[in-house]
């Protein structure tokens, strides 16, 4: 629990900081844009609160950086020192992505040729085959969900998913609190007017 409270504090700080940066830049935004900005700030804050210890956070940040608009925001949030670290890590990630992609292509071509040779799933292991397919499908879906999940094997994927779930929870908590707080303030504000 200590780690989660630490994470909460870090996240809140960074998120509010990011939001301040956001609202200082533009004045007129419609709801959807605002929502995007809020979510982006939250995601980046969450990822940076992890301080590049987990790969999903690195992946999140690298994705956000790809968009030029967000780069200033990201850099500000992360802080100058971590910038160099991030760059190195991002370079590693990119190379890793390429490696994984080429591996996947190779695997696919191999498996296709194998499948051509095979008559079909051997009857004795039909259930195993089915089970394997199920698990594979699900791990694929999970890979898509967890940021940066494509370049992970099953074991580390589960570990990352664990971590990601924890931080998502923190994020949801903080956002919910803030939303409720502002809502209540608005309500009490409006109710006071009519008293």
């Amino acid at each position: 629990m200590h780690t989660s409270s630490k994470l909460t504090k870090e996240f809140t700080k960074k998120w509010l900081k990011g939001l301040q940066i956001c609202c200082s830049s533009k004045k007129d935004m419609d709801v959807l844009e605002r929502k995007k900005k809020i979510k982006l700030c939250a995601d980046i804050a969450l990822a940076s609160a992890k301080n590049a210890t987990t790969s999903w956070s690195i992946a999140l940040i690298s994705e956000a950086k790809k968009n030029d608009e967000n780069e200033i925001l990201v850099d500000n949030l992360l802080g100058p020192e971590s910038r160099f670290k991030q760059q190195n890590i991002i370079r590693q990630m990119n190379s890793c992505h390429k490696r994984v992609r080429s591996k996947k292509i190779l695997k696919k071509s191999c498996s296709i040729s194998q499948r051509m040779k095979k008559m079909g799933p051997p009857k004795s292991n039909l259930a195993a085959y089915i089970a394997k397919r199920l698990v594979k499908k699900r791990t694929q879906v999970l890979q898509r969900l967890v940021p940066g999940g494509e370049s992970m094997d099953e074991f580390s994927l589960i570990k990352e998913a664990l971590d990601y779930i924890l931080s998502l929870r923190v994020q949801v908590d903080v956002m919910r609190n803030l939303a409720n707080a502002t809502e209540v303030l608005n309500q009490s504000n409006s109710s006071n007017v009519f008293d």
């Binding site: 629990m1 409270s5 909460t8 504090k9 809140t12 700080k13 509010l16 939001l19 301040q20 956001c22 609202c23 004045k27 709801v31 959807l32 605002r34 929502k35 900005k37 809020i38 979510k39 939250a42 051997p122 004795s124 292991n125 259930a127 195993a128 089915i130 089970a131 199920l134 698990v135 699900r138 999970l142 969900l145 099953e154 074991f155 589960i158 570990k159 998913a161 664990l162 990601y164 779930i165 998502l168 929870r169 949801v172 908590d173 956002m175 919910r176 609190n177 939303a179 409720n180 707080a181 502002t182 809502e183 303030l185 608005n186 309500q187 504000n189 109710s191 006071n192 007017v193 008293d195």
Partner: protein, 350 residues
């Protein structure tokens, strides 16, 4: 017989060794997520001897596709554990028809006797076709950082299966953690089901984030979160220091409870007064609505301390000033602001 049975057995045999593999059998092992208990059960029921084989393997096994996993588990005793798990080699004796239990167990015991013989001698001469792999094992010993894995009796000790086993154990351990994290996962055992739940949970959390950010976008007409970082810290410091028992344990507990909203703004600050008698700071007052605890934690005396409303009003004014300091509100709301000020002043006078 039960047509579904062989499927589940097969499934469990290859992927969920720590699951209710033997649930369908009245035999020894209870359905247990714990790998250790599973093995203990096996040992207790199946094995009397204490002879175990040793195997050495690389701590970073390459993720091996399951097809190459040859001898998964070889059962020692024929009678107790039926051949729900059998190596791929013995396809002919497979689990398709459960009614052929006897046949399978016979086949198993044949193979097992062979293997136990091997294991009795030396671990390196383990199973039938692993001599070549043993050589590679010997050469591998020279590398540093080895995980020493004991191959249990009745198990093949080739490096592949050992690596596979270690990998599976790791995965199952992680799955256990995930079971604790993801709510409602206690009943599900089985990789596919667990993964399903995890996926659902992650998706729901992500959707919640989207929804909340949308809500924030609508509630705050312009991203005017003019709240200090210090204030943000205060929120959590307050909540954690005042209610250490609550801490930041779960999603809904120590924090903000919508139910208490109904009482209106007065009670909040009253609570705040009760709890932070000394602190009339702006930040505390803001944190009051946020750090509302469960009502069980509150003293009734808190509610009585609503007399010094003057101070409360002062707090409220400060609060609003802080909140809307840099304006950026819709003009309507700024009207409200001034209006509320007057209203509050009137209250204090009366």
């Amino acid at each position: 017989m039960n047509p579904q049975l062989p499927n589940t057995l097969q499934q469990q045999c290859f992927y969920n060794p720590n699951d209710h593999m033997f649930a369908n059998h009245s035999a020894l092992v209870k359905p247990d997520p714990g790998m250790d208990e599973y093995w203990a059960g096996l040992h207790a029921g199946a094995f009397c001897d204490d002879q175990l084989g040793y195997g050495y393997m690389n701590p970073n096994p390459v993720a091996q596709p399951v097809e190459t996993d040859q001898a998964l588990f070889l059962q020692g005793n024929s009678s107790s554990v039926s051949a729900s798990v059998s190596p791929k080699k013995r396809k002919s004796q497979s689990l398709q028809v459960v009614s052929d239990k006897e046949k399978k167990t016979k086949g198993c015991s044949e193979g097992d006797s062979r293997i136990t013989h091997d294991q009795n001698s030396n671990s390196k001469e383990a199973s039938n076709n692993t001599s070549s792999k043993d050589k590679s094992k010997v050469s591998e010993v020279q590398k540093p950082d080895y995980i020493h894995v004991r191959a249990r009796r009745g198990q093949a000790t080739d490096s592949h299966s050992l690596a596979e086993r270690v990998r599976r154990e790791k995965i199952s351990e992680r799955m256990k953690y995930l079971q604790d994290l993801v709510p409602g996962c206690n009943k599900i055992t089985g990789k596919a089901g667990m993964l399903d739940e995890i996926i659902n949970y992650v998706q729901s959390l992500q959707k919640q984030v989207e929804f909340l950010s949308m809500k924030l976008a609508t509630v705050n007409p312009e991203l005017d979160f003019n709240i200090d970082n210090a204030f943000a810290k205060e929120i959590f410091q307050c909540s954690t220091s005042e209610f250490p028992a609550l801490g930041c344990s779960s999603t809904n507990s120590a924090y903000f409870q919508l139910n208490s909203m109904d009482q209106g703004g007065v009670s909040y600050c009253g609570l705040d007064m009760g709890i932070n008698a000394a602190e009339m700071g702006l930040r505390r007052s803001i944190s009051a609505p946020i750090s509302i605890p469960d009502q069980t934690f509150l003293d009734s005396s808190c509610y009585n301390q609503m007399q010094p409303s003057g101070v409360w009003d002062g707090d409220i004014q400060n609060l609003y000033r802080m909140e809307y300091e840099q304006e950026t509100l819709i003009p309507f709301q700024s009207h409200q602001f001034t209006g509320s000020n007057e209203g509050i002043n009137m209250k204090t006078e009366t």
